[in-house]
């Protein structure tokens, strides 16, 4: 079976969970014997070639097609993407720009060309920026289309104030798709209620995680730890979707009771300034550390050194952070509004708006180390069932069922 996949840059491209999910799933799909034509946007300023991190023995199963496009996940439609159109007589680049919306359409146009050139059985498009590409490929090839929803406009907006052009693309693409994969029941309910999708069309494929034991790294923030400080970590984009403002409110309540707690914020985003101001207004400057965006080893060191990781998302389709934290031996507190909670029991949970309870659970985790120790030890066992391998097996089953259904 051959799948035309519209996906995203793999790690270490620093784009958050989407690339991680694309890599994990595609890697395991090839292990299951699926051939993948992987189409991804290539930025012009990429130095060298996009790193493609598949094991050697399976790389023959993956063909990479790149489209020159500045698309990245997590964009708003009015963002401008600049590109080099041509070079003038002095050899200087002529810079032009397109909006994301134009870029998405450009990407779709290129996709339909690729769809005519390649031979495949099924189309699988990840996230809204590639939905139109998926639809275009379907029109060009008449092959079945699967859209894979990792986040919706409602998650990004953390409410109903959504970007109407994204919402329109979502609705039209959902209508054109043969099947829609979502990363949680949370997201399934959302697209049924908000986009009017027929529940029969939707399949839940929970994300997986890496289950190997990572190397023990040199601890970070050791100065603070030596002073007996406890470290609470937030890791993620600083946007309204992620609930960082509630995290800061909870921090205030925690510090009232226990001034020995330090909150580390790893990430960046359109709310960064607002959060910095909020920290100042709440007199928390000496208890909150802005670490910038931490990736790879720096991020892993922080996971390993933290006493608790908090993911206070307002609307989180899945949320890989608590699984990554567990892998590094640290317990998490997540919001009930997170899809990962459907498959992970060894985690503390709270409603994102319940600041008192968030603070209570942070304090309890600090007071009773037996609690976090057990969450980690039992969580590591539970994680073994949540591998990308399991997710890929489910996807293969769904591919087969869909093809059977359409051909009989």
């Amino acid at each position: 079976m051959k799948v035309l996949t519209f996906g995203w840059d793999f790690p270490p491209s620093r784009n958050g969970g989407l690339g991680v999910a694309c890599l994990g799933l595609t890697r395991e799909l090839t292990q299951e014997g699926i051939e993948v034509i992987f189409v991804l946007p290539r930025k012009q300023n990429t130095v060298g070639h996009t790193k493609f991190v598949f094991a050697d023995k399976t790389s023959s199963k993956v063909t990479v097609r790149e489209i020159d496009s500045g698309l990245t996940p997590y964009l708003a439609t009015n963002n401008k993407l600049e590109y080099i159109d041509s070079y003038d007589s002095h050899g200087m680049p002529v810079i032009k720009s397109r909006t994301v919306l134009e870029e998405v359409h450009f990407f779709a146009h290129q996709a339909s060309i690729i769809a005519r050139q390649e031979d495949f059985d099924i189309i699988h498009a990840h996230d809204w920026t590639s939905f139109l590409a998926g639809v275009a490929a379907k029109e060009a090839s008449h092959k079945p289309l699967i859209l894979h929803v990792h986040a919706t406009s409602f998650d990004q907006a953390a409410g109903d104030n959504v970007d109407p052009s994204i919402y329109k693309i979502e609705c039209e693409s959902f209508a054109a798709a043969d099947q829609i994969f979502v990363v949680s029941n949370f997201t399934k309910n959302l697209i049924i209620n908000k986009h009017g999708v027929d529940p029969e069309k939707v399949r839940v494929v929970h994300n997986g995680c890496d289950t190997y034991e990572p190397p023990k790294l040199e601890p970070t923030l050791s100065g603070l730890k030596q002073q007996g400080k406890k470290v609470i970590l937030y890791h993620g984009r600083i946007t309204i979707q992620k609930g960082v403002d509630y995290f800061i409110k909870a921090a205030r309540r925690v510090v009232d009771v226990d001034p020995n707690v330090v909150f580390v914020i790893s990430g960046w985003g359109d709310m960064t300034t607002q959060i910095i101001n909020q920290v100042g207004e709440n007199g928390l400057s000496s208890n909150v550390i802005f670490a910038g965006s931490l990736w790879e080893e720096e991020r892993d060191r922080m996971y390993q050194s933290a006493d608790l990781v908090v993911m206070p998302s307002v609307s989180e389709p899945f949320g890989l952070v608590p699984l990554e934290a567990l892998q590094h031996g640290t317990a998490s507190l997540i919001s009930y509004q997170s899809g990962v909670g459907e498959v992970l029991s060894n985690v503390l949970k709270v409603d994102f708006w319940d600041v008192e309870e968030m603070a209570n659970k942070i304090l309890a985790a600090m007071r009773y180390p037996v609690l976090t120790n057990q969450i980690v030890s039992e969580g590591k066992i539970e994680m073994q069932k949540l591998s990308w391998r399991e997710a890929a097996k489910k996807v293969v089953e769904l591919y087969k069922n869909l093809l059977n259904y359409l051909t009989t």
């Binding site: 008192e356 603070a359 659970k361 309890a364 007071r367 009773y368 609690l371 120790n373 057990q374 039992e378």
Partner: protein, 463 residues
């Protein structure tokens, strides 16, 4: 002759509210949740009273009235009796009427539905005494047969019961200890000479308690006739069928629409339609049969989960930590001699708190989740440990006050001794008279009331 010996266990814990770290030192009401969640103890009692206690007691009363040979036993935790008194006194009265027939036996138990025997025998003994007094006060009877929390059992518990005058004790009829032998006979614990053990026939008991409404079960729907056939099929190879289950099976675990009430209503008549089948209370069963052999249970046996041990309460680290923390307070709490503190401490010993912390997600997870009012075992642990932290603070505070008072008294004594030497005629001071506390008053009036109620019932029976 085949005996049928049913006993129904009536219990509700005092569930701990969402008690937060911020409440430590500020709020000593751990059990007064007023929300519309299952943490609200009054709400649960009212709900279960309507679904189970009231309709079931009505049926049991009718059965006792219609069938002079119908008999069974009840066991109550003190915590459920306290809550009946506070939230549903009519339910308590209906139980008192059942017991007043003389055909309903009450079993001995710990007051607080605790696992104290395995952690502190002196504390266990205090709770058993407290329970006995409560039963005597409310029902006018003294239990002779013992059942421990969650049917937990071990050889040394049986020995303790024998040494303390009990004639029988209940346990799970579990193959691990029975081997090839049947639970449908009376046994004797090792090292004991008088006390006998009644073993639960878990298959027949769980057919009603767990499987009755399971539509995936081959025998669903179970009729009273079929069930009676199963029991009658033991004739010739058994002496007593011991059916032990939660009282709340009727109407609460198995809802009315499963047909459980009709099943209960029909069963006694069908069972006793064979004249060689009789209902017997545990005491009657024990007196009717000799022991057929010894049952040796060196490790803790309970009626819970597929493991039948204590792992549902003490299987993981948070449970072990919680239970260790509560029993390690014993010496200090008792030393305060403060009734409210001791009572709070005991309510926190109720085994349900530890059951809610169980993380056997897979095999028995559904049963645990069904019984838990918390969204996660970790939430249960946090509420418990926070409440316990507050209690620890209050205990230390009470002891500090006690100590400083003792020091003051000692100082005073010293001073008076000195003055006695110096002055020949010391000034006499009037001794302050302490009025009886509010609690003494209440307990006096309760005693009076319950005494008169029992007399009233007795008078009614004579008529």
């Amino acid at each position: 002759m085949l005996s049928i010996c049913p006993y129904f266990h009536v219990h509700q814990p005092f569930r701990i509210k969402k008690y937060r770290v911020f409440d430590i030192g500020n709020d000593n009401e751990y059990f007064n949740d007023g929300s519309d969640t299952d943490l609200n103890n009054r709400r649960i009692i009212e709900k279960v009273a309507n679904k189970s206690y009231r309709p079931t007691n009505k049926i049991l009363q009718e059965l006792l009235d219609e069938h002079p040979d119908f008999r069974f036993a009840l066991s109550f935790s003190g915590t459920v009796l306290d809550q009946f008194e506070a939230y549903a006194p009519d339910v308590l009265e209906s139980f008192q009427r059942l017991v007043a027939t003389g055909r309903v036996e009450i079993l001995a138990d710990t007051y607080h539905h605790s696992l104290a025997f395995f952690y502190s025998v002196p504390e266990f003994e205090r709770q058993v005494t407290q329970h006995r007094k409560k039963i005597e006060k409310l029902f006018g009877v003294t239990p002779k047969v013992f059942r421990n929390t969650e049917l937990s059992y071990r050889n040394d518990l049986a020995k303790w019961c024998e040494d303390n005058g009990y004639i029988g004790i209940m346990a799970e009829g579990w193959e691990k200890y029975l081997g090839w032998r049947s639970p449908n006979f009376v046994y004797q614990p090792p090292g004991c000479s008088k006390i006998k053990v009644l073993l639960k026939n878990y298959k027949l008991s769980d057919d009603v308690a767990f499987r009755f409404s399971n539509q995936g079960w081959a025998s669903w729907p179970l009729s009273a006739e079929t069930y009676a056939d199963w029991i009658h099929s033991h004739h010739g190879g058994a002496e007593t069928i011991n059916l032990f289950m939660d009282y709340e099976t009727f109407g609460e675990h198995q809802w009315e629409d499963t047909g459980i009430f009709n099943f209960l209503r029909a069963l006694p008549k069908i069972l006793t339609s064979r004249s060689d089948t009789v209902f017997r209370t545990p005491t009657e069963t024990i007196k009717s049969y000799d022991s057929v052999g010894e049952i040796d249970v060196p490790d803790i046996l309970t009626w819970a989960d597929t493991d039948r041990d204590l792992t549902a309460w003490t299987g993981n680290d948070i449970q072990k930590d919680a239970i260790k923390s509560i029993y390690s307070m014993e010496e200090k709490v008792i030393k305060t001699k403060n009734k409210a503190l001791i009572e709070n401490w005991r309510k926190l010993q109720t085994s349900d708190h530890f059951y809610y912390m169980c993380t056997k997600w897979s095999e028995d997870g559904d049963v645990h989740a069904y019984f838990s009012p918390y969204q996660s075992p970790y939430d249960a642990y946090i509420a418990f440990m926070n409440a316990l932290s507050d209690l620890q603070l209050r205990v230390s505070h009470a002891l500090e006050i006690k100590e400083s008072e003792a020091t003051k008294r000692a100082l005073k004594k010293e001073q008076t001794a000195k003055t006695e030497v110096e002055e020949i005629v010391p000034e006499t001071k009037p001794v302050p008279v302490t009025p009886p506390s509010i609690w003494q008053k209440i307990s006096l009036s309760v005693k009076k009331w319950s005494g008169s109620f029992i007399n009233f019932i007795k008078a009614k029976r004579k008529n």
